[in-house]
Symmetry: C2
Subunit: 151 residues, 2 copies
């Protein structure tokens, strides 16, 4: 096995670069990377329970609970008891959260466009599709392992 062909390595370094490239934009808006993940998820998919948001953002649920605490202090989101199941909280964007998201979003889109400037449309579509397929493979694997443990 060679490092340059090892998928976790290739994926991780791209992920880290994305973070360091977007961080200056986020700092300017007073938002950290985790909060940004929450903001886009809520903006694109609408209000979510904490658990659903944890799945959607890949942020550990207890970490997420504290991220949401920070975000509430900054008036970015609001947690309201779920009407149907009072064990859950529904997390929703505040007007301020929506506005902050709409400030960052075009800059994030511009960054993505810029760093993929050398990609053809077909390549971009292919990359997205393959990442999606890989995610499915990884998820299936996790589930198999969990089933094994559950007996």
């Amino acid at each position: 096995m060679e490092l340059g062909t090892y998928l976790p390595y290739l994926v991780n370094r791209v992920g880290q670069r994305f973070i360091s490239d977007i961080t200056p934009v986020l700092s300017e808006a007073g938002v950290d990377i985790q909060s940004w993940r929450v903001l886009i998820a809520l903006y694109q998919r609408g209000a979510q329970t904490v658990g659903a948001l944890s799945d959607l953002t890949s942020i550990n649920f207890s970490t997420l609970s504290r991220v949401l605490g920070r975000m509430e202090k900054k008036d970015l989101v609001r947690r309201v008891r779920d009407a149907e199941d009072a064990r859950s909280f529904t997390v929703e964007l505040t007007a301020n959260g929506k506005s902050v998201t709409e400030t960052i979003l075009p800059q994030a889109a511009a960054l993505e466009a810029k760093v993929t400037g050398d990609f053809s449309e077909a390549e971009l579509a292919m990359l997205r599709q393959l990442l999606g397929k890989l995610y499915v493979g990884l998820s299936d694997y996790s589930e198999e392992r969990d089933d094994r443990l559950a007996g």
Copy 2:
């Protein structure tokens, strides 16, 4: 912009899944994810200075300094003053580090093979190539920004 087509989102969730899928294997060997990144890098590319290792693993250099501290305690690596430039340390695998890496490596390879079971060889090659290309795009962007700041 839709979440399901947003590259940082697609990359991040794949990265997180890789981590959660490999973690049980690493725990069994008493190694954390950061240490594992260092182990593969050293195993594949040979001894490195701390700075080079930071680039190679995408681990922040001050974090890396402490990761290396943990790894030294476990006799996985050794830091020796660089003969040519005494400001640098050269980090190298110990015999134990090599052996631990060789225990984990086949399991990591098997995991990668399993989660990409549905990929054709062409798709796998394409995914690796596109991730490499994306990394280049992201790096160019970082450099442009740094140049701008440096004046």
